[in-house]
Each structure stands twice: as C-alpha cells, then as structure tokens.
Symmetry: C2
DNA sequence: GGAGTGATACTCGGATATCTGGTGTCCGAGTTTTCGCGG
DNA sequence: CCGCGAAAACTCGGACACCAGATATCCGAGTATCACTCC
C-alpha cells in the first residue's frame, strides 16, 4: 500500500498557492520549478485538483492555478482524495461467500467483520487528514522554516509574479 | 493507494486457523480451496506470515500451517504488516528541500509538517488495527454467521482433518 | 508379530513469468496579451 | 495620442508511451508416512 507521490506534490502546491493569495496565480511550470519536480506530470495532478474544485485555473499568459477557496476551507483530506481517489484502501472481495462453506446471499446479513474493521481504520485515517487545513499547514511552515528560507521563498515569488 | 488483496486472504486464513486450533494444521491447498482463491498465490502470503512469526509451518504429509501463538495474541495489524509491509503509506520525498528556495540541510530542523501529519494519520490507522486480535474476529464470525453456515464450515473442517 | 528400511507422497520455500496501475510525456484547444496600424 | 484588430505567445486539458510492483505460477528441498522385508 503506497500513496501516490503526487499527493505530496499536490499538498505542497496547495500550500504555496495559499501563500500566493487569491488575486494571483502560478502556472504549472513555476510550481514544478519551485518544487523541483517534472512539470508535465505535476500537471496531471493539478488538473485533478482543479476538477475536484480545490484549484481554479486561469487560461492564457499570466494565468495558472490559484486556490478556489480560502486555504482555511480546504482540508488535507480533500487534496488527498482529489489525487489518490476517494475509495477505501481495502476492497472487500467477500471471499467468505466463496468455497465449500458458501451460503445463499440472504444469509449474509451482517457485514464482513474484517471489512468493517478496515473501514473503521480507514475512517480514522481520513479523520486525521480532515482535521487539518491548508491554512494550518501554512502556519506550520511559517513557524518552522528558517528566516532565510522564508525570505528566499518570498523573493522567488516576487520575481515570478512580477 | 490500494491494499494488497492478499491482506484479506491472510486475515481470513488466520481466522480459520484459529478455529482449527493449535494441535492441527491446514495445508495451503485446503486453505485456498476453502476461500476459493488461487493456491499458488496464497502460498506466497502464507509464507510471509510464517516469516513474520504469525504462522508455523509443518512439513510433510498431514502438515500445513497453524497459528504460531494463541489467536488472542495476534493482532490484525501484525497480519497486515506481514503481508503488505511495515512502512508507512506516505513516503516523504522532502521536496521542500528542492528547487530555488532550497536551503542547507542544517536549516531543516523541524520535520516537514506534511510528513508529520501523514505519519499521524498512518499511526491512527495502525492503532485501529492493533486494537483487534484474530480471536476478536473469530468471535464476530461466530456471532454473525448463520447457524447453517457454521455447521457447514465445521463439517468441512472435520472432513479435511480426518 | 515387531522392528528396521527404503520408497513414496505430500508439504513448504523460493525463483520465475505476466499484467495492471502509477509514472512520465506529448500535442491540441482556448484565451489573454501585445504589437502594429489607422484614425 | 487613442482605439481597433490581428497575430502571437502562453496556458490548461486530455490523449499517448513506459516501467515498477502486484499478481499468478512453477519446480526443487525437505520430511512424515507407509509399505515391505527380514528377524
């Protein structure tokens, strides 16, 4: 079970776009350059986030992506689900209904206990991600990054948005 | 992010072996037959569980697998980790250190906030699976299955162990 | 009848193919900007 | 100098290759069983 690498990219992009603010936008190429990742592939994930209503796209020169809503209203879970999909990690194949001890379908009224447990665990995972917004992450970045790093990032952004 | 199908198989096999008890064992072919899954592939996962110290293998005719410990002492998490691996679903690539705003390594003293959050979520997921043992699952099966289904399963087991 | 011995059948264990989904890339559709021209 | 228009450049969006890991399978190593033979 491995989470798509694009999830990390999407989250970082979301945080960066949060710093950019609602009145400007960054194109895929800049976002990729800033994070040191292949732009052509990053585009795929940004499109997914756009379809999910997390990002807004602006066409033409000077365009790019920006957050569709305030960063405080976007949860990490939304980003993860937009990129990695909304379905649970565990897909119950109902193998209890197969083999020599199989019974007619109507006798399986209680859901598979393994399935239930897995769903519970999955929900716990999602709940943790739901608790945190992009704004929260932005705050942690500001609090945790070195002053020089923040200044360097601000300088880069100023240069790009110019 | 999709969990290996083998996890479901391994858990069901663990539960079934719990019912078999510590004095008998079931070979791969019987376990596969009971669950209606390809035996050659199931073998791979049973081997993994054996390596992890969850199952014990008995060679030769009449041999097979049995639980290495009481079912109450085996958590679902153990089985999942034995088959799917022990590492977190999220692998932080530290992309914050790349690109134009990168800083010397010593300036990154605080762990990446995204990484921390993902680890927290992962731990919540694992904690749910740690809470439940194979014995718990066995109890739920007994409580939830239809009487006819239980009898049919018992009959099959009696036939196989004969 | 009982013990020893060899063959046999059955089991696990790891090494080997195949295939789906993630990874990576590309080009076309659409829009904004910009430059040139005319008034 | 100002307005208009066409061209150009830049952007997103979806369609197209490639590759690693999961899926699926096989055969060899090892052992308990069983039958046969001999005492």
């Amino acid at each position: 079970m491995k989470l798509s690498e694009g999830v990390e990219w999407g989250l970082h992009c979301g945080v960066l776009l949060g710093f950019v603010g609602p009145d400007a936008s960054l194109p895929t190429a800049r976002l990729a350059e800033y994070h040191g990742v292949p732009g052509a592939y990053l585009a795929k994930h940004l499109q997914a986030m756009s379809r999910a209503g997390i990002l807004e796209s602006v066409q033409g020169p000077g365009g790019g992506y920006r957050l569709a809503r305030p960063a405080a209203d976007i949860t990490v879970l939304e980003v993860v689900e937009a990129i990695d999909g909304r379905e649970s990690a565990f897909q119950c194949a109902e193998i209890r209904r197969r083999g020599p001890s199989a019974r007619p379908a109507r006798e399986y009224r209680v859901p598979c206990s393994i399935h239930s447990l897995m769903n519970r665990a999955d929900e716990a995972w999602r709940e943790e991600l739901r608790r945190v917004s992009l704004a929260d992450l932005m705050g942690q970045v500001v609090a945790g990054a070195s002053p020089k790093g923040l200044e360097q990032g601000a300088r880069w952004m100023q240069e790009v948005l110019k």
